[in-house]
Subunit: 257 residues, 2 copies
């Protein structure tokens, strides 16, 4: 059975997910995005068609993948007649139930990874979390997920939301701290390259050690002199100065217990 | 010329650094630590002697490596007669000048990495930053550093302090966010293992992309609904709830520019 997919959205996630499905032999019949540039770019990669008008959505696709930012999902879906076909959203935070009004066949397909368009990822190592409204749909989702990944788990909406929050800390907030580090270094004309081995080792360390046991640095040593000296040194970076103290205090509280 | 080193301190950094020197053919003549367990453990690894009384420090070593927490450095040094031998501290934040009162030959040797005793690291990939009070001493420091690392740079105290602050963000604060993520997952009985590929990819990504361009997630998309939903979901983690909002706002401010 060769299923055909319509992708609603052409951002980072849609790009990587649709490519992974195409590489596993599925047919991507159509890409929709409001933004012509994104729609066209992805359609070219997949050798398929794109549309920018929601009225032209193909009613014959077997499965609709919704990979939009959370706030846009309901508005876009309300404009489409899905004829009870399977609709799948890819959001960590939205519950399955946001799809209830649009079809009797609904599911969630959440790949836990950070995707940037111009960087390839190995999809088979990415944990995928699925959820759906019936055993039949769950089997379809599991089958799809197992075609592209070796780590597939059924998880409900409530747990998935907490998983997403933890991922925001472990990825987005972490990356913001890399950005802050880069900003601080730039102010003294020091290359960010020097931090790269440290950043990599910090991430590798917790593949084996619990992060709680991997902690080092002035805050976990309760080294107030160093913390205060760092705080004063950051007086040209008011925003970062506040964050420096909040996170140091949080580390302090954690290890005081 | 076979130099002999005395290590003052037997913590994470002293352990890894003294092992790297021993593996490069240098002689570690003595380990001092107030804590007998640490001193003994490291001395056994290095097949050398340890002392826990500062009066027994060997006056015949060629070089003294001071690897103590910053707040302990001056107190310990004031009790030792170094006979003008070369004293080297390994701190990111302390200036070279803290050593001025204890010898005419002083230097700094700062390896930029996170060290845990029970985890091996490849020393030759670790950037080492050196500084000293004379060309002669600088040459000695450069020679020592190049024996164990392929990345050796002369850097003054002011720049080194900023480098250290950036490392606190990129490593210690990052690791604390891994710990927070683990705590959040634990509350819903979800395995931390699911986050490991995401954490590794986040660190690998910025080896090639600038961190500013690698950012993803709700805050950089200005997705207020998701941010507010996450905030409310964290109401059992008051401390993390505040951090969630502070960091989201900082991301928001950064990309608004």
């Amino acid at each position: 059975m060769s299923l055909s997919f319509c992708f609603i959205g052409a951002g980072n996630l849609a790009t990587h997910l649709s490519k992974a499905f195409k590489n596993s032999g599925y047919k991507i019949s159509q890409i929709y995005s409001r933004t012509e540039e994104s729609a066209k770019e992805l359609a070219e990669i997949l050798s398929t068609n794109f549309i920018t008008s929601i009225n032209e959505i193909d009613n014959h696709a077997d499965i609709y993948f919704v990979a939009l930012k959370d706030s846009a999902v309901e508005e876009v879906l309300s404009k489409i007649n899905f004829n009870n076909k399977l609709i799948i959203h890819c959001s960590g935070s939205l519950p399955l139930t946001v799809l209830e009004n649009y079809s009797d066949n609904i599911g969630v397909f959440y790949p836990l990874q950070t995707f940037s368009k111009n960087r390839d990822v190995e999809f088979n190592e990415i944990p995928i979390f699925v959820e759906s409204n019936s055993d039949k749909n769950e089997q379809i989702l599991l089958q799809l997920a197992r075609k592209i990944s070796n780590s597939v788990t059924v998880m409900n909406s409530e747990k998935r939301k907490m998983l997403h929050i933890s991922a925001v800390f472990a990825c987005n907030f972490v990356n913001h701290f890399y950005t802050i580090a880069a900003d601080i270094l730039k102010s003294k004309d020091i290359s960010f390259d020097y931090l790269k081995p440290l950043i990599l080792e910090t991430a590798k360390k917790i593949q084996e050690l619990e992060p709680e046991k991997a902690q080092t640095g002035p805050a976990v040593r309760f080294d107030e002199n160093t913390i205060n000296a760092h705080y004063n040194e950051l007086n040209n970076f008011c925003d970062y100065q506040q964050l420096y103290m909040s996170v140091s205090k949080s580390i302090f509280e954690h290890y005081k217990k």
